[in-house]
C-alpha cells in the first residue's frame, strides 16, 4: 500500500477531530478510542447497543476509589451450580507487577475473568500538575519501564501541541528510532514469555537472549537500557553521530537475522503453535466495538496503525508495512508481532540510512485541540497510546492518558471466556498487557 492511498480516503473516516478525541480521552479515564469510526458506525448499524456510555464506564472504573484495587473490565454477574471465584494474585506476575485475576469457574473452564488493578497505583498523572515539562517527562517514562519511549514520545507530542512549540526534525527522528528499538524489544519479549509458558526452553532462552541484546544496544546508543531520560533535553549523551549510526546499523543486521532463525525454530515446533492457535480469540466485531488497539486489533483483521493513520515526522517519509491477521487468536497476535519486528528492523534501516542533516527549520507541532491543550498519539508496542496534556507557561496543568492496556483489558477478559485455566498465560502474554499502564 502506498502512502498516498490512505491519504486519499474520505477525510472523516479516520479523522481524529478534537471533539471525537476529547469525547474518548476524558480526564476521568474513558477507555475506548475508536480508531475506525466508519467501522464502528457499521457495527452500530447492526442494531447492537453501543458500548456503555461514559458515565457507566466511569462508575465501574472508579469502584473503590482510584487507589484501591478496582476492576479493569465491565462487571458481569455469572452464577450457576458449583461455580466459585478462583482468586489469582495480586502476586501473580512474579516481581515486576502486582495485579489480581478473579476467575469465576465451575472448575477447569473460565466462565468470567476479571483483571483487578490498582494494587500499585502510584498517582503519577495527578502528581504532575504544576511541574515543569522535563520533570513531568521523567515521571512519565517511569510509568511503565519497558514502553518508556512510546510514553515519553506521546507525552512530549501532546505537550508540544498544547504549547505550540516546534521540534527539531532530528529530535523527531531520534524519538522514532528509540520507539522502534523498544518495539522490537517488547515484541521479542512477548514471544519469549509465551515460549516460557509453553516450556520451549531453548526457544525461550534464545529469545530472552535476543531481547537482552536489544536492551544492551539501547543502553549503548542512548545511555540507558530502558531509554530513561534518552529523549529529554539534558539526557545522557547519545551515540548517534555518523560512526554511532554505522555501528548501530552493523549491530542490528545480525540481530534481524537471528530473529528470523528463531522464528523458524518456533514455527517448527508443533506444540508451540498448537498451544496458541485458537487460544483466547477476539471477535472482530467485539474488538471494534470495545475499541481494541495495536496487535490485538490488527490480529482481528482491522489494519489500523497510528504510524500510518495519524502519521507524524518521520513516518510520513518512510516505508512502513501494515501487517494484519484475520483469526484474532493468540497465534494471530503473535504473527502480527513477528511481522512488526521485521517491519521495525526495516524502519530502523531506513531511519539510519536517511538520517536528516543537522539544523533547518524545526517541525511544527500539531495544532492544539483547545487553547493550551494538546493530544499526543503514538503507536506503542501494544497499540494506540494517547496523551491529553494541558500546559501553560512550561508547566503542566493536567495530564490524562489512554494507554493500550486500558483499551485491551476488556478484550482479554472476553477472549478468556470458555477457555481453560491452562490457556491463561498464553492468552495474557499475547496481549502485551501491563498493569503499570493502568496503575498510573
Amino acid at each position: 500500500m502506498t502512502r498516498s492511498a490512505w491519504r486519499e480516503e474520505p477525510a472523516d473516516r479516520f479523522a481524529l477531530t478534537p471533539d471525537r478525541a476529547l469525547a474518548y480521552v476524558a480526564p476521568e479515564g474513558a477507555f475506548a478510542l475508536y480508531n475506525d469510526f466508519a467501522a464502528r458506525d457499521s457495527v452500530l448499524a447492526t442494531g447492537l447497543a453501543p458500548v456503555p456510555p461514559a458515565e457507566v464506564v466511569a462508575a465501574w472504573r472508579d469502584q473503590g476509589g482510584e487507589r484501591r484495587p478496582h476492576r479493569l473490565v465491565p462487571p458481569d454477574t455469572v452464577e450457576g451450580y458449583g461455580t466459585f471465584t478462583f482468586p489469582y494474585g495480586p502476586i501473580s506476575m512474579g516481581v515486576p507487577e502486582s495485579g489480581r485475576f478473579d476467575v469465576v469457574t465451575y472448575g477447569e473452564r473460565v466462565l468470567e475473568l476479571t483483571p483487578i488493578g490498582g494494587y500499585k497505583a502510584r498517582r503519577t498523572l495527578p502528581s504532575l500538575a504544576g511541574r515543569p515539562l522535563a520533570d513531568a517527562a521523567l515521571r512519565i517514562e517511569r510509568l511503565a519501564g519497558n514502553v518508556a519511549a512510546a510514553h515519553v514520545a506521546a507525552f512530549l507530542a501532546a505537550a508540544e501541541s498544547a504549547q505550540g512549540t516546534g521540534v527539531p526534525t532530528r529530535e523527531l527522528w531520534t524519538r522514532a528510532l528509540a520507539q522502534e528499538l523498544q518495539r522490537i524489544y517488547n515484541h521479542v519479549h512477548v514471544l519469549g514469555r509465551i515460549a516460557e509458558a509453553a516450556s520451549q526452553n531453548v526457544g525461550s532462552a534464545e529469545t530472552h537472549a535476543l531481547a537482552e541484546q536489544i536492551l544492551r544496544l539501547q543502553g549503548h546508543v542512548f545511555g540507558h537500557r530502558w531509554l530513561f531520560g534518552a529523549l529529554l533535553p539534558g539526557g545522557p549523551p547519545r551515540r548517534l553521530d555518523l560512526d554511532g549510526r554505522r555501528a548501530l546499523a552493523a549491530a542490528l543486521a545480525p540481530r534481524s537475522k537471528e530473529f528470523e532463525e528463531l522464528w523458524e525454530l518456533f514455527l517448527d515446533s508443533r506444540t508451540f503453535v498448537d498451544r496458541i492457535q485458537g487460544t483466547c480469540p477476539v471477535a472482530r466485531e467485539l474488538a471494534v466495538r470495545w475499541g481494541a488497539v495495536g496487535p490485538t486489533l490488527r490480529a482481528c483483521g482491522v489494519p489500523w496503525d497510528d504510524r500510518l493513520r495519524v502519521p507524524v515526522v518521520p513516518y510520513t517519509d518512510l516505508f512502513l508495512a501494515l501487517p494484519h491477521e484475520r483469526d484474532g487468536d493468540a497465534l494471530a497476535r503473535v504473527l502480527v508481532r513477528v511481522q512488526e519486528v521485521r517491519s521495525s528492523f526495516l524502519l530502523l534501516e531506513q531511519l539510519l540510512d536517511r538520517w536528516p542533516a543537522d539544523g533547518g527549520a524545526p517541525e511544527e507541532a500539531a495544532p492544539p485541540v483547545a487553547p493550551g491543550r494538546g493530544l499526543g498519539r503514538v503507536e506503542a508496542p501494544s497499540g494506540d497510546l494517547v496523551y491529553d496534556v494541558r500546559a501553560r507557561d512550561g508547566r503542566i496543568e493536567a495530564v490524562a492518558a489512554r494507554t493500550p492496556s486500558d483499551a485491551n483489558w476488556p478484550l482479554f477478559s472476553f477472549g478468556m471466556r470458555d477457555a481453560v485455566f491452562t490457556d491463561f498465560h498464553f492468552a495474557f502474554e499475547s496481549f502485551g498487557l501491563v498493569f503499570a499502564e493502568t496503575d498510573r
Binding site: 447497543a49 458481569d76 466459585f84 495480586p90 472448575g107
Partner: protein, 670 residues
C-alpha cells in the same frame, strides 16, 4: 431343631415382631431389630463354624416342606447383613427422631423379609421374602423428606424395577420348579435349554436388584433423587443389593457346571458396571448419590469376580475358580460394611449441616465426633481400595484373578478378561477420585466456616464401630478368608481350602496367595511395617533428644489474597469438572446458559445476572425415559381405540369372547 435352630427362628421372628411394635413405639422397634440382628449374627457365625443350622420347619401351602436353614452360603450373607443391621438399627435410635413410625415399621419389615429369604430352604418362601422386601423398601423410600412429587416418582421407579426383578425371579423359580418338581433349594436336575433359561432369568432378576448396568437407575435414583432417609439408604444399598447377590449365588450354586458364555456375560456386565458406577460416582454432587453410584461399582466388582469364577469353572481351572470365589465373597462383605458407614456418615453430615449437597456441605462439618470421623475415614479409604483396609484386599484379589485370565483358552475369552481387567483398573482409579471427593468435602475441608460443633454420639458411635470392622476385615483378611471357607465350599459344591499360606519370612497363614503362587499379599504385615516405620521415626526424634519436629502453622497462600473468603473456595463440583469435560461423550455433558449473557455479547449498558450450569446425564436414563414415553403413548392409543367407554362396544367384546369360547369348546370336546 436344636438350640441354634431355635435361635434362628427367634431371630427371624424378632424382626417381624419389631415391625409390629414399631407401629406404636418406633424406638423399641429399632431396639428389637438390633437385638434380632445380634442373634442372627451369632447364628450365622455358628452356621459357618459348626455347620448348617436348621430352624423351624413346616409344610408349605403347595405341599412342599418349608424350613428355615442357614448353611454356609446363606450363613455368609446373613453374617454380612447382620453386621450392617446392628449398626444401622442402633444409629436409627438417634437418627429417626423426627420421622413417622411408618419408617420404623418398614425398616424392621425389610430386615425381616431379607432374613427370611436368606434363611428360606425353598424358593417359594424365598419369593415371599423377596416380594415383602420390595414392598417394605418402597415404604421406606416413601418416608423421604424431599419434595412430595420427587419422592413419589423416585419410590415409583424403585417399585417398577423391583417388580420387574420379581417377574424375572418368578420366571427363574418356575424354571427350577419345572426341572426339579419341587420348590426346595436342591441341585437342578435338568440341563440344557431349561438351565440356560433359569440362568438368564435369574441373572436379569437379581442384577435388577443389585443395580448393576444397565439397570443402575434402580440403585441411584431412589436413594439420591428423593433423598431417602439415611438408615433406609444404608439398608437399601448395603443389604438389599446383597440379597440380590445372594439370590444369584444361590441359584448358580444349584445349576451345576456352567457353560463358557455364562461367565462371559456375568463378567461383561460386571466390568461395565464398575466403569459406569465409578465414573458417575466421581461426578456426583449428592452425599448419598455418590455412595449409591459406588454401590453400582462394587456390585459390578462382585459380578466380575463371579464371572471369572464361572469362566474358570467352565475351563476346569479349579484353583482360579476358588480364588475368584473368595474374592467375590470378600468383595461383598467389604462393600456391605464400608458402604453402610458412608450412608450413615451422609446422614450424620446432613444432621449437622442440613443438606445432602456435597458442594454446600464443604467446610461446614466440625470435627466434633472423633468416632464418626475415624469411621468415615476408614470406610472411604476402604472403598478407594487403600491398604490395609477391607476394600484393598478384595480389590487386590479381584485384579489378581483377572490377571490370571491369560489361562483361558478361546482367544475371545482371554480378550474379554483383558478388557474387563482394564475396565476394573480404570474404575478403581475413578473411584479414588469419588472417595477423595466425599471425604475431602465432608470432613477434611478446612472447617473455618463451620459453627459450633454439634455432637451426636448416637450417630457417631455406630459409624466408628463399623469403621473398626472395616479395618479389622482388612488386617485380619487371611483369617477371615479361612473362616469363609464353608461359604465358598457351599457355593462350589466341592471341598475347598482358603488361599492363604506363607512366603519368605512371613509366618504361614499370614498371607493371601493367588494361584500357586501367582501373587502374594500379606495384609497383617502392612500395619506392622507401617508401625515399624513410624517407630523408627519416633525413635530418631526421642533418642536423638531432638524433641518433636517444629511445626509452623500458616494460613493458606492464595497469591497474596486473603484466604478463604466466602465464594472463593474450590467446590466439590469444580473438583470433578475436569472429568465431566473429558468424559463428555459418556456423561452427555452440556452447558446450559440462561439469562441475557455477558455484557460484551448482550450489548447491555449495565450487567444483568446470567447463569451457566454444567449438566451431566445418565445416558441410560434417556433410554428409560423413551421407554416410558412409548408405553404411555401405547396406553393412550389403546384407550382411544379399544377402551372407549362405549357400553355397546364392550358388549360386543363380551359377545366375541363368548362366541370364541363356545367355538373352542365345541371344537375341543365336540
Amino acid at each position: 431343631m436344636d438350640a441354634w435352630g431355635a435361635a434362628l427362628t427367634v431371630a427371624v421372628a424378632t424382626f417381624f415382631g419389631a415391625a409390629a411394635v414399631a407401629a406404636i413405639r418406633p424406638k423399641l422397634g429399632y431396639a428389637l431389630s438390633a437385638a434380632g440382628a445380634v442373634l442372627l449374627l451369632a447364628v450365622a457365625v455358628e452356621a459357618l463354624v459348626g455347620g448348617p443350622v436348621r430352624g423351624a420347619a413346616w409344610s408349605g401351602p403347595l405341599g412342599d416342606p418349608e424350613s428355615l436353614v442357614l448353611d454356609g452360603l446363606s450363613g455368609f450373607f446373613a453374617l454380612a447383613a447382620a453386621v450392617v443391621w446392628i449398626a444401622t438399627a442402633v444409629y436409627s435410635l438417634t437418627y429417626d427422631a423426627r420421622r413417622s413410625p411408618l419408617l420404623a415399621v418398614c425398616f424392621s419389615l425389610t430386615l425381616g423379609s431379607i432374613a427370611l429369604l436368606v434363611a428360606s430352604s425353598s424358593f417359594l418362601l424365598f419369593l415371599i421374602g423377596w416380594e415383602t422386601m420390595t414392598v417394605a423398601s418402597y415404604g421406606m423410600i416413601l418416608q423421604a423428606l424431599g419434595r412430595r412429587g420427587r419422592v413419589f416418582s423416585a419410590a415409583f421407579v424403585f417399585l417398577v424395577f423391583g417388580e420387574a426383578s420379581t417377574l424375572f425371579v418368578i420366571l427363574a423359580v418356575a424354571g427350577l420348579r419345572v426341572g426339579n418338581g419341587t420348590f426346595a433349594e436342591v441341585p437342578f436336575a435338568s440341563a440344557g435349554d431349561l438351565s440356560a433359561l433359569v440362568f438368564v432369568a435369574s441373572l436379569l432378576g437379581f442384577a435388577l436388584k443389585m443395580g448393576v448396568a444397565p439397570f443402575h437407575m434402580s440403585e441411584w435414583l431412589p436413594i439420591a433423587h428423593s433423598s431417602a432417609p439415611s438408615n433406609a439408604s444404608a439398608v437399601l444399598s448395603s443389604t438389599l443389593t446383597l440379597a440380590g447377590a445372594y439370590g444369584l449365588f444361590r441359584v448358580l450354586s444349584l445349576l451345576g457346571p456352567p457353560p463358557l458364555w455364562w461367565g462371559a456375560v456375568t463378567l461383561g456386565i460386571g466390568a461395565a458396571s464398575v466403569l459406569l458406577g465409578a465414573l458417575f460416582a466421581a461426578v456426583s454432587e449428592h452425599t448419598k448419590g455418590l455412595p449409591a453410584y459406588s454401590t453400582i461399582e462394587n456390585n459390578g466388582l462382585i459380578l466380575v469376580a463371579l464371572g471369572v469364577a464361572l469362566l474358570a469353572r467352565a475351563e476346569g481351572l479349579t484353583d482360579l475358580c476358588v480364588f475368584a470365589l473368595f474374592a467375590a465373597f470378600y468383595q461383598a462383605l467389604a462393600h456391605a460394611v464400608a458402604k453402610t458407614v458412608l450412608f450413615l456418615a451422609a446422614g450424620w453430615t446432613e444432621h449437622v449441616t442440613g443438606t445432602f449437597d456435597l458442594t454446600s456441605v464443604g467446610g461446614r462439618v466440625k470435627r466434633g465426633d472423633r468416632a464418626a470421623f475415624a469411621g468415615t475415614l476408614a470406610a472411604t479409604l476402604s472403598l478407594a481400595a487403600a491398604p490395609p483396609l477391607a476394600g484393598f484386599v478384595s480389590e487386590w484379589m479381584i485384579l489378581e484373578s483377572l490377571f490370571q485370565s491369560y489361562q483361558f483358552v478361546p482367544a475371545w475369552v482371554q480378550f474379554l478378561g483383558l478388557v474387563s481387567g482394564a475396565a476394573v483398573a480404570l474404575g478403581a482409579g475413578l473411584i479414588v477420585i469419588a472417595m477423595v471427593k466425599f471425604l475431602g468435602f465432608t470432613l477434611l475441608w478446612n472447617p473455618s466456616a463451620a459453627g459450633a460443633a454439634r455432637r451426636s454420639p448416637g450417630l457417631a458411635v455406630p459409624i466408628g464401630a463399623v469403621g473398626a470392622v472395616v479395618l479389622g476385615l482388612g488386617i485380619g483378611a487371611p483369617w477371615v478368608l479361612r473362616f469363609l471357607t464353608p461359604s465358598v465350599a457351599a457355593f462350589s459344591g466341592f471341598p475347598v481350602t482358603a488361599p492363604v499360606g506363607g512366603l519368605l519370612s512371613v509366618p504361614n497363614g499370614w498371607s493371601i496367595l493367588s494361584g500357586s503362587p501367582f501373587g502374594i499379599l500379606s495384609p497383617p504385615m502392612v500395619p506392622i511395617l507401617l508401625a515399624i516405620g513410624a517407630g523408627v521415626g519416633a525413635a530418631y526424634y526421642l533418642l536423638g533428644r531432638r524433641g518433636a519436629p517444629a511445626a509452623r502453622v500458616t494460613p493458606v497462600w492464595m497469591a497474596g489474597s486473603p484466604p478463604g473468603r466466602d465464594g472463593e473456595v474450590y467446590t466439590s463440583f469444580g473438583y470433578s469438572t475436569g472429568l465431566r469435560i473429558m468424559m463428555s461423550t459418556v456423561l452427555g455433558t452440556r452447558e446450559i446458559r440462561s439469562g441475557a449473557g455477558p455484557v460484551s455479547e448482550a450489548g447491555l449498558a449495565t450487567p444483568e445476572p446470567y447463569s451457566v450450569d454444567l449438566e451431566v446425564l445418565d445416558i441410560f436414563k434417556l433410554f428409560y425415559d423413551d421407554l416410558v414415553r412409548g408405553g404411555e403413548a401405547l396406553a393412550t392409543a389403546l384407550k382411544a381405540r379399544v377402551m372407549t367407554g362405549d357400553l355397546g362396544r364392550y358388549l360386543a367384546y363380551i359377545l366375541v369372547v363368548v362366541l370364541a369360547t363356545v367355538i373352542y369348546v365345541a371344537a375341543a370336546f365336540g
